[in-house]
């Protein structure tokens, strides 16, 4: 568990002791404090946090759109603070970026948008047009090359943005809430495309989001950003099954009502970490003990064909049976912990 076979391990982006303070009207705003992070070549790295946690600021520090107040950022071994303007422009061509609002040029066609970074890089028109065609095929909208962004749906616009971000053959793709403006099914399509790009082109992807679902769907590792600090970093599986900090728990179990009503009844949370499916375990347990249990809460997801998530069940009144049920669940390789005050 917790191994990520995708990444070769070399850090492509390294952040050390990074802090960012903004001068606000009513005093300084500390957006990031002492952030240290390594993003490994080839992985899909997630950064999750509530709104205002500092996610956008952090990702903007990765290509120096925002200059850190303190600390350093290395891209592929190069300290970004040591670069001249020209060198920085050059390096940015190796770091693609996509956004929540797509940020396409509205007065240019789809193909014109994809050609844009190539024009800036000084690629000749013919070569740029050819590359744009390839990229639009890759993202699946080659038939809309001559349309204008305003004629496309949100999902299609994000695909254009992805094609545009890939035009200069970047090694990293930064995605700042790239699916937050899209509906769930479009989101899935875009995430699948991102995973494809990661696998087929070997491009490292950094995904910024406030939705756990997005992280589950495509990330191998994740950092939890909580009010300007990194609360936890680890493999998605680890953080999902055993969140250590309260910030992580808030994100993983967003509808967790355990702080709610109080009562004497015992309840148990069973965490599924991909080793077994939901139905058989609970069904077999009920058969084995000849005792009905009440499922109070369930939040299950399917990641790569494995069951992840948690359910909360109400245990029978008999303390002995309840203890043995928890034993039983654990013997199936699941994590079971008693939760108090659930009912």
């Amino acid at each position: 568990m917790g191994s990520d076979t995708m990444s070769s391990g070399n850090p492509i982006i390294r952040i050390e002791g990074l802090s960012k303070t903004f001068q606000g009207v009513s005093g300084d705003i500390s957006a990031l404090e002492d952030i240290s992070l390594e993003i490994r070549e080839g992985e899909i790295f997630g950064i999750i946090g509530m709104s205002g946690a500092g996610k956008s600021t952090l990702v903007r520090c990765m290509n120096f759109l925002e200059k850190p107040t303190k600390g350093k950022v290395w891209f592929n071994g190069r300290d970004l603070s040591q670069l001249t303007k020209k060198e920085l422009y050059q390096i940015r061509r190796s770091i693609g970026m996509i956004f929540q609002q797509f940020n396409l040029l509205m007065q240019r066609t789809v193909a014109g948008n994809v050609c844009f970074p190539l024009e800036i890089a000084g690629v000749d028109k013919k070569a740029a047009a050819k590359r744009a065609e390839e990229l639009l095929t890759l993202v699946g909208i080659s038939d809309r090359a001559d349309s204008y962004p305003s004629q496309l749906s949100g999902g299609q616009r994000q695909r254009v943005a992805i094609a545009r971000a890939l035009a200069t053959n970047p090694r990293v793709l930064l995605c700042d809430e790239a699916t937050s403006a899209l509906d769930p099914s479009t989101t899935r399509g875009v995430l699948t495309l991102l995973r494809d790009i990661n696998r087929r082109l070997g491009i490292t992807i950094v995904v910024i989001t406030h939705q756990m679902k997005v992280i589950e769907e495509i990330c191998s590792r994740v950092a939890i950003l909580d009010s300007s600090h990194i609360a936890e970093v680890g493999s998605v599986e680890d953080i999902f099954t055993r969140p250590k900090t309260s910030a992580a728990r808030r994100l993983v179990f967003p509808e967790d009502p355990s702080m709610g009503k109080l009562s004497g009844t015992r309840c148990c949370r069973i965490v599924f970490n991909g080793n077994s499916a939901l139905e058989p375990v609970i069904a077999e347990m009920v058969l084995e003990f000849r005792q009905v249990v009440n499922i109070l809460f369930a939040d299950m997801k399917n990641i790569d064909g494995k069951a992840f998530g948690h359910i909360v069940i109400q245990l029978p009144d008999s303390g002995m049976v309840a203890d043995r049920m928890m034993e039983y669940v654990r013997s199936k390789g699941l994590t079971a912990e008693e939760v108090e005050g659930y009912v």
Partner: protein
């Protein structure tokens, strides 16, 4: 009701007005467009923040804009004389027109350029575009429809100013309106010139809006 003489006079007045307005507008943009761009990029949220430069240009523009055109017209007469060699006629009127409208154009351009989505500029920055490339490949093209609308406003405003120059015998339709309508009480000649001015404004407005819409891809 009018003889040939008067027709000819109104005809040449019309040409003079068009000449003054077009030349002044062109020159006002030569000065105002770079100033407007400078105001936008040196702004504190701009792509090249330079607070002092921004303040300086802002103040110069504001001062020039707060001088009423009639006063400016008379104040710059000596300068006009130096540059053009005379203080009457359309060529002389171009000088105060440009001085009055360049700062106006700068503000109109500034407001058009500020409409460009910050996100699009940020995207260009993330691709390694230099500030200069962002100006001519992102900001100006994306603002094109709005710039054309602004241009229409500028040209009609300049037309209005040019008519005022009739007070100092500046030539054009305004001059005729004042000489005949105001000094000689030939109201019908004044009415014809005023009608012509209205017609020009209307035509310029139509053309401007059409051009702006044709070039705009924001709504499908």
């Amino acid at each position: 009701m009018f003889d040939m003489e008067i027709f000819r006079m109104i005809g040449s007045g019309l040409l003079e007005t068009l000449y003054m307005v077009l030349v002044s507008t062109a020159m006002a943009y030569v000065l105002g467009l770079p100033l407007g761009i400078a105001l936008v990029i040196t702004d504190k949220d701009g792509i090249r923040p330079m607070p002092f430069v921004n303040r300086f240009i802002g103040i110069v523009v504001n001062v020039l804009r707060s001088v009423p055109f009639l006063i400016l017209l008379i104040t710059v007469l000596p300068i006009t004389k130096k540059i053009v060699g005379t203080t009457i006629g359309p060529n002389a009127t171009v000088v105060p027109l440009v001085i009055a409208s360049a700062p106006f154009v700068a503000r109109v351009v500034e407001s058009s350029l500020k409409e460009v989505d910050k996100g699009v500029i940020e995207a260009a920055q993330s691709m390694g575009a230099s500030p200069w490339k962002i100006v001519y490949k992102v900001i100006l093209p994306e603002a094109r429809p709005s710039l054309i609308v602004g241009g229409t406003i500028a040209v009609t405003t300049i037309l209005g100013y040019s008519a005022m120059a009739g007070i100092v015998a500046g030539g054009g339709l305004g001059d005729i309106a004042i000489r005949y309508g105001f000094y000689r009480y030939q109201t019908n000649i004044m009415l014809v010139t005023v009608a012509l001015l209205i017609l020009i404004v209307q035509i310029l407005q139509e053309i401007g809006m059409k051009l702006a819409n044709i070039g705009d891809r924001r709504n499908g």
